[in-house]
Symmetry: D2
Subunit: 331 residues, 4 copies
């Protein structure tokens, strides 16, 4: 029997999830909600569903699951209300910018006993998930070191950055999750430093940074390095590599085509996929498929609200390390 | 307004087209037909449409277009009946194994004045079509040479081969179309040779070959080489490269993931996508989108029944060249 | 004890061989000869050896070996005289442009009973020789198909082409040797066609071509395709690939550096090494090392004058096939 | 006129430099010295030179330059004596394990006013130096971030490690030089952590580590990350990448051949060159050529004893950061 699901948030990411839900044979899209009427109406029309209010969604006992794709500041409240209403939850990252509030959500979900998937979609990317599966099969033996490079094509507006919680919560939250997922181990110490190199306003107006370097040491001495930048002239760069006792696995960028051009100056290939909507198109699909498979009892939840909280702990620690110029000890 | 389309053939390729049609916002899937009831019923159920007979489809004046994905021996008859019924046609390759019959279809379509797209889906592959677009922009100047390498993961059963029309019609038909599409020019001479190297029964029982080498020279002296094999131990290999006065463009294989593994012996990447259903998944989608865009007046038909006939002429010429050990002159 | 060797020809290729000989611990460079005094004197001075005449070299019984790097029209005469003088011979390709004269050389060498290496240096390239060794270890099983792509950065002057013997003898002689070396089997039929696409004078003045397509079928049905061009805008392109029952091996281009540049438009790598002097620098060194090892009794001659004659037979057959528009049968 | 040069140290690295010197047309190899007679005699015989004592070398006023390739603990003493004797100096890294002693050497060299090249051979690698030249031409604009990955194929014996000065001085000294060379800027802070993951004796017996993660922040906020490991199952891994405002440049590994193998499981290429002798073969040659060109007045010294001292300062800082678990501030 199909899962009845409603989508809250009809913006960019809500549209993706709603469209994927509409195409998933195991889902009946019960409706979409948004604080602003137009995008909700447009999306509902496109997908042949109706506009609902959040209240209607939570009150409708025939709706099994809610997908929360609204703005970050609404996540915690919606998670708690949805948990109280007995809904399964698929919520975009982050749980909240405030760690304590995120922990409250974690508790609420635990009490409700329903599934709650936090949208770390990278775990569902074909390349990343294949790499993880190969680690689990023991292909490279005991893990030793991880290096993550994560760059956006350009920085968001300074006004956005001012409300973003800072680069470690807003951008590196994904990379911290990659660290935890790949190593399957918790951090002992975190060191982070950062600079504003692409636009001085990022420092002076937003009090934020655009370029970071982080080192995480785990309780068993494994070492992870994360480097991010808000701007790469060549586009969206999403790579990591894992060294183990028996070898190395690298996750490379995806490209739109496999054309190779040999000209008078160079031999060239395509730049990486433009941005996260393109790069993770399949990841978003797989992620929704997984959520539905979990609700159907066919798969076990692969990324939980606890993962969302733990990534936030690392983001908090990194922020502190940077701001206070000190190594932060976690465990 | 949505195009009303029916799909004839509920086998492997029919399923793909019907599913793509069901997901295309501009299409209403009017029904599916198949000589065998079960697959038709199953597909119709999956896609929320109904089972129709060919007769019902052709008689229903609300149906704008038919997609012919049934077995090769039915193509010509269905094209002619559909043309007579005033339907737009999307027909899988080849038009027919018999060149004269294919030409009759071409005439019937011309008389009917409706769109008829022949399913050379490779033209719609992201890599191949990007390469073609770059040629048209003049990136490599005047074209000089083309080299196509096309290998299947394994030969079909000998029983299939016996009814296939031979490797040049069954397998290279796609490569002949690539030749015409890339060069935009007709063949002057064709030389072909072939061997049965993977299984002696292919020669002795099916009187066919599994490995080919073809050279086509165009009227302006451009040179094309095609090599195919029915079996590559490493999977499905689909590449070509074009030399022009100003450079070279190569179309490489697509791979499932971008994982790179460095181990004690080698550094390795994934094999190419398994077979045509995976490799050309997006091509099939784009192809259907194009057909619908043509019917909607938004695009001009990019591959016509004439293209189907011309590719067959080349396949006939290559077969003759091989069988009679001679160079065949076409124009 | 060191081999005493003299070098005939102080041009581009003679300089390379003489320099490699001077650096080879197993060689004493006895002298260099050239029809023109200046280059001989300059080379001798550079390498700390003396200028000799051909007569002096052949008469000097302390000289064990001669390296013939003079112009093609002198090869046959020098081989026969050197053989008569009891010298070991290292002669640049081709043996001669005339097949009968080349066969005479072969006989003279056989009678003399000395080593005679013909300079198919590609066999000594690290990539090509590693590939060949892997074939011999059975890595890809029984061979089925070979595809050679060989392109020069630009055509030589038309005046040179007029005396070159034509593209099949002058340029493809190397590719024909690659075919024989890789397959270890003789040709049954040869088909060749060619065009002059880069410069009309190549056809009208030199009666030659600049772009070729060749198919060779062996006695056991293996298929080889060769494509060459005198001009590639992106430089010197030297690749081949071999399909076997168990897999494929490809030999790719070498590049000056391993820098990868990601910019606003593309991701790029270096073009291939400029031309044969750069691309085959190591091959030339290995080739000379091999010749010295053969003379020292440490290795068995890996490329003989018979190989030189057989490659010429194929070049003759291809020329005939092209000029007479027919398939040429060899065995 | 040729530079008269003597080589001190006839071990692995001394042999390389002496052989390169013997092949360099601008050098006369005056002799070789070694504390142990046999290797010196053998090397001298191979290269046609004689065995000298260090005293003889320093006393011989016809000798222009000394190349110091003896063990690390002899470097400082030999530099100071050679400087006092008015010789030009080419000394292998490190200057010394003790920073103050290294600074004394720097002063001695400054007073002597002779050239002193410290053997950071990576700067002379074709890939690395091409990348640096492209940075200097402004290809990627203002630099922002550097990521260095440097892994050895296996750890040296624990007995060696006990006298090595620790991983930061023994192994990362090269990477610290890369940092300084690429950024052209000094460090403000250094953070380093390390683990012994490949062999517990490295920690318990040698009190050292085998896996490191370092972050350096420059005075202008540029960020560098260095990761090293003493063991990579797949061999010697030498890569770095630089992000700038206009793009990224990556230096990839070199491989022995360009063979690509497609088999039933994967598509594979060669592992990187075995170890530093192979990987940096050309770098060592270029480095010596540069030294000779400097002495001949044709080039300006590209890596000085000051560079050797500065790299050591970073190694000291990293060691302190790791041992004391704190961020070390340098400027």
């Amino acid at each position: 029997m199909a899962i009845r699901m409603a989508v809250i948030g009809a913006g960019r990411i809500g549209q993706i999830h709603a469209t994927n839900a509409a195409r998933n044979g195991g889902v009946t899209l019960a409706g979409v909600a948004d604080a602003i009427p137009e995008p909700a109406a447009k999306l509902a029309a496109q997908l042949g569903t109706k506009v609902l209010s959040v209240e209607q969604i939570l009150a409708d006992r025939t709706i099994d699951a809610v997908l929360i794709g609204s703005s970050t500041d609404t996540h915690a409240d919606l998670i708690m209300r949805a948990a109280a209403a007995g809904k399964h939850i698929f919520c975009e990252k982050p749980v909240d910018l405030d760690l304590n509030r995120a922990r409250d959500c974690e508790k609420a979900v635990r009490v409700a006993g329903k599934a709650c998937l936090i949208g770390f979609q990278r775990r569902f990317d074909p390349t990343f998930s294949a790499l993880k599966a190969r680690i689990e099969k023991g292909e490279i033996g005991e893990l030793e070191a991880l290096s993550v490079i994560s760059r956006d094509p350009g920085a968001p507006p300074v006004a956005y950055l001012q409300r973003s919680g800072g680069i470690f919560k807003d951008m590196l939250i994904h990379d911290f999750d990659i660290f935890r997922w790949i190593f399957g181990e918790e951090a002992e110490t975190v060191y982070a430093t950062a600079s504003a190199l692409t636009d001085p306003n990022i420092a002076s107006v937003a009090n934020d940074a655009d370029t970071t370097a982080v080192v995480i040491r785990t309780v068993t001495g494994k070492l992870a390095q994360i480097h991010t930048s808000r701007r790469a002239a060549y586009g969206y760069d999403q790579r990591f590599e894992v060294l183990g006792a028996k070898g190395m696995l690298q996750a490379g960028n995806h490209r739109p085509t496999e054309v190779v051009a040999s000209g008078p100056d160079v031999v060239s290939i395509d730049k990486p996929e433009d941005f996260f909507l393109q790069r993770y198109e399949r990841a978003y699909r797989n992620e929704l498929d997984h959520f539905i498979a979990v609700l159907g009892g066919h798969e076990t939840l692969r990324v939980s609200i606890e993962d969302g909280v733990k990534a936030l702990e690392l983001a908090d620690a990194a922020t502190t390390s940077w701001r206070e110029s000190r190594i932060v000890r976690l465990h």
